[in-house]
């Protein structure tokens, strides 16, 4: 069902991870990803993984919730794993199946690639699960603030993003409703060839677009009525403020990246 989509889902909470400034979390995720892509061996991976595990533990999000979000990327994982497994031909040969050779090098590489993707996704999910979309866009707007000097409409982009996030559940609900209504008129969204399927989308997409435009129009009027006039002179209900914890966590992640770089350059592990 459409309702199972977890995209951009936020689980409210009061853990340290939840309470951190969104800017801290965004920067940490960037540092974390950099560390992940720098990591060159077992030791580095273990260090990054330990940090992720601790963060997940503190957040009380639960491994199950994180794994549930992985469903859509299973195909990519399998594909990446297989590709690395069969195309890397280093180390000793373990299995030989016709034209397929599995080697220790291939096995190791496949494992690292799959782990990297899993950890990449877990890290970013942890961010979206513990940060409300509003806080997230707010944080992004602040971090990208300097781009305003280059005439990049940072505020407008952030506003667009937060409205888009706000309307995702509404549009999903609407899609469900229109689909049911057309099914009641004998429409078939499942069967048939690719062309049939594409054609079956017309009775769904046309009303959905018409309605989306109507909503956009009404929302624009409502925003104007509530004195929206761009980002200039706007204040916020919640001012972002760095706390001691933010500096500490940020320092920890900078240290992590430094450590991984040293491990790579000096010890190649």
């Amino acid at each position: 069902m459409l309702k199972d989509i977890t995209l951009g889902q936020f689980f409210p909470g009061t853990s340290l991870v939840h309470r951190l400034d969104p800017r801290t979390k965004l920067l940490c995720v960037v540092l974390y990803i950099a560390a992940l892509f720098t990591a060159a061996g077992w030791v580095s991976y273990a260090v990054v993984f330990a940090l992720l595990a601790v963060a997940v533990g503190i957040s009380r999000i639960g491994v199950k919730a994180l794994l549930r979000g992985m469903k859509p990327v299973v195909v990519i994982l399998v594909f990446t794993g297989a590709l690395n497994l069969f195309y890397t031909q280093t180390g000793t040969e373990l299995v030989h199946l016709g034209f397929l050779h599995i080697t220790t090098g291939g096995l190791e590489r496949a494992f690292f690639m799959v782990t990297r993707i899993l950890m990449l996704i877990s890290g970013t999910f942890l961010l979206t699960y513990t940060t409300s979309p509003i806080a997230l866009t707010d944080g992004l707007e602040h971090l990208l603030g300097p781009l305003k000097l280059l005439k990049v409409p940072v505020h407008d982009l952030a506003m667009m993003m937060s409205i888009a996030l706000r309307f995702i559940p509404t549009l999903i609900e609407e899609t469900d409703k229109i689909m049911s209504a057309q099914k009641a008129r004998g429409a078939d969204f499942e069967g048939g060839s690719l062309l049939d399927k594409a054609r079956a989308m017309v009775p769904l997409m046309v009303p959905l677009f018409v309605s989306a435009f109507r909503r956009a129009d009404e929302l624009a009027t409502a925003m104007e009525c509530r004195c929206y006039h761009g980002g200039e002179g706007r204040t916020r209900l919640k001012q972002l403020r760095f706390q001691a914890a933010d500096w500490a966590v940020l320092a920890l992640f900078v240290a992590l990246l430094a450590l991984i770089v040293v491990l790579k350059l000096r010890f190649r592990v």
């Binding site: 409300s132 509003i134 706000r166 909503r215 409502a222 009525c225 509530r226 929206y228």
Partner: protein, 283 residues
């Protein structure tokens, strides 16, 4: 007497023609809304009542005539922000006026736009949510609320702007009876306790009956204006423009037609029952 909060002087408006002739929505409408009053505007779909509402805060500008909001001419572009801030607006579909995905963030939207300092926004948000009875839901996601709750959040979002007048364009049209009752209670409280001027656009007779003053529109013109009691007595006039009167008045009217001596101004069930009882007993 003090200056009216909204004043329309011979306002006319028509929508651009889609096919053939342009559609006239307002014809020479002159209307004053007193500060602190509760005015209902009643009419069937397409009678021009929504167009009228949109003129009250410069969303639409008159093609003929003038609209004054707290002494400001709405045609003066430099005053629009002040006009929007003075006259707030609540629309029919609550889904399409909620901007944020946390209730309190949404209520904060207007004060944020006005550059109100953070602690003051906090105070206003809490107060607004209190007035509409949604404090419990401050941290909730709007899409998980019922229709009536969403509409109350939308109203809180306007209250937080601290407007002097709130125009509500059919705020209950998409709600179930429970949601409708919640919203109507909120509107009444807003007018009685907060002394905010309320203009309620509706086609429900029982909602119109709550107001101090009732304006009836048909084909872009005001055809009746007075207290609900006096207006509802014009049963034939209301019927002729496709409106009905509350069942209470309708029953009294029918009995009067049959020769009973009954007043027509008993709106509530209680008043109506008393009136009938008194009439039948007097014989």
């Amino acid at each position: 007497m003090s200056e009216p909060i909204v004043k329309l002087e011979q306002v006319s408006f028509s929508y651009p023609a889609v096919e053939g002739r342009p559609h006239t929505a307002l014809k020479d409408v002159t209307l004053e809304v007193e500060e602190g009053s509760f005015v209902a505007v009643l009419g069937h779909n397409g009678c021009g009542k929504s167009t009228l509402a949109k003129h009250m805060n410069a969303i639409l500008l008159p093609l003929g005539g003038k609209v004054w909001v707290a002494g400001m001419d709405t045609a003066d572009e430099s005053r629009w922000l002040d006009v929007h801030r003075t006259v707030g607006m609540v629309f029919q579909n609550p889904d399409n006026q909620i901007v944020a995905n946390v209730v309190e963030e949404d209520v904060a939207f207007a004060p944020e736009n006005l550059g109100v300092p953070s602690p003051e926004i906090r105070r206003r948000v809490d107060e607004a949510l209190e007035i509409v009875g949604m404090s419990k839901y401050a941290r909730h996601a709007p899409h998980r609320l019922s229709g009536g709750q969403k509409q109350r959040v939308a109203i809180a979002g306007v209250i937080a702007m601290q407007p002097r007048c709130i125009v509500m364009d059919e705020p209950t049209a998409m709600l179930d009876p429970v949601g409708r009752e919640e919203v109507l209670k909120t509107i009444r409280r807003l007018n009685r306790e907060q002394h905010t001027t309320v203009v309620l656009i509706t086609h429900h007779m029982d909602e119109a009956a709550m107001a101090d003053r009732l304006v009836v529109m048909d084909h872009g013109e005001v055809i009746a204006d007075g207290t609900p009691r006096t207006v509802f007595q014009k049963v034939e006039l209301l019927r002729s423009v496709g409106l009905t009167v509350p069942d209470t008045v309708e029953l009294l009217y029918e009995l009067r037609q049959a020769g009973l001596d009954l007043p027509l101004d008993a709106l509530s069930v209680e008043e109506c029952a008393q009136a009938i009882c008194g009439c039948l007993r007097s014989n």
